[in-house]
Symmetry: C2
Subunit: 261 residues, 2 copies
């Protein structure tokens, strides 16, 4: 692993549950020597990717990230475009909807909306990178991904998150075949024992695979009617997002999520 990767991967330790991390906690989390960790933290801090709490000196994500995300959003609006669509969809189905972007061999969450209409909710942490093989979003992407990416992911390692995580490449390939037919994936308890999800892919302006839209439901609340309603909602969502971002569904997959007419 290069020095740059070592340093910027430290940013991935921040999450909703862990918004601030002190030097010694970082040393423990990363398992590298204190001097190296401190040098990397200082360099990230000097560049605005981290900032230190004025009193505790603990680190948190810094202002440069806000600035750069502002630049990306004005030049390639995505979150601002996806936000209202995801929020509306969540209200319609009454369940948690999230949108994530493909980032190498993982999924990077961008926005989620939770209508909080039920006694139990899916806990979604936008900080967490999602695995492709063990989430409905990921499966929806793998089904429509270039062969190179699919092969690389299925070659493993395929981490097991729950007893229901599918780690057999052949079974995953069969599932992908089905997703390609219907346009939507369904994965029960594959990433979290208490959650079942459906997902669908989103294509960008050049017909490239961009990310995935997904609806996650507490497993106890999933039933055939809900599943059918979620698939319909996902399809509406895919068409809306595709139109808003000027995306292009590759001709061979046209009609799987609706028609523009």
């Amino acid at each position: 692993m290069g020095t740059i990767t070592k340093a910027i991967e430290m940013l991935n330790y921040f999450s909703h549950r862990r918004p601030e991390i002190g030097l010694s906690e970082f040393v423990r989390l990363i398992g590298r020597d204190k001097a190296t960790v401190h040098r990397h933290l200082s360099e990230l801090e000097r560049n605005g990717f981290l900032e230190q709490h004025p009193v505790t000196r603990a680190y948190r994500l810094g202002p440069a990230i806000l600035r750069l995300s502002g630049v990306r959003e004005t030049t390639h609006p995505l979150r601002s475009v996806v936000r209202p669509i995801v929020t509306e969809l969540a209200q319609e189905v009454g369940e948690l909807v999230h949108f994530s972007l493909l980032q190498g061999q993982t999924l990077s969450p961008v926005f989620h909306a939770d209508p909080k209409m039920h006694g139990t909710q899916v806990h979604f942490d936008e900080a967490e990178l999602l695995p492709l093989h063990a989430t409905a979003s990921g499966l929806a992407l793998l089904a429509f991904a270039p062969k190179k990416l699919t092969d690389r992911v299925l070659a493993g390692p395929l981490e097991r998150f729950t007893e229901s995580t599918i780690t057999d490449p052949d079974i995953l390939r069969d599932l992908m075949e089905k997703v390609r037919e219907t346009g939507c994936s369904k994965l029960e308890q594959g990433f979290d024992n208490e959650v079942s999800s459906h997902g669908a892919p989103i294509f960008g302006p050049d017909g490239e695979l961009l990310g995935a839209l997904s609806i996650a439901v507490p497993h106890v609340r999933m039933n055939p009617e809900k599943s059918a309603a979620i698939r319909e909602a996902l399809k509406r969502g895919v068409m809306k997002i595709t139109r808003s971002i000027g995306g292009n569904i590759p001709p061979r997959h046209a009609g799987k999520w609706g028609t523009d007419a």
Copy 2:
């Protein structure tokens, strides 16, 4: 300069005017050898800080930035809090309002709103880091900054951006004195020949200097009445933002921007 800094500083080349940069353009911009530039770009791409255009292979800011800014916003909401206040203020005064965060010895823009009510507008690029000594925002910060930061900035180098940029530390110190009294800074044509701005500091929950609120006007439109109206608007803005982020104005500066009663 460390390797990490060299790599992540490449992210600063992206702006509204330059949303995508190809490999050879990067080599030209940075003036380093192609192999090094390519290695750094690849490492940033692998970590999701850059992504490549599917057709042209040009680089643009990547999905990891959206994810990390989402994490920062949920754990330390700032843009979402500042956005409506800045937008409302811009409508009230009919001029461009922006909010920036202190990042080391520069200012990192977070959000700006432009009501577009006049024939000419200030062009504001959120991608650009702002100098402390040559902007109204920066001067507002320097006036209330810890002596250490002020001394370091005034020790120079103090870059000259226009003929009106003040680069004499003594004159800057006199100005800062005035800003400390009134709570607001005013700088005419210091950063851009066609722009005059007012600024005021924003303090965080621990009374620490967080950033600055600023109103920028085409210089030709600036007059004493406008200046007075802008100062009042800035003060209202400072109080609103401070309340919304749970900020604390240090007791020795209390009342300079209004009272909470």
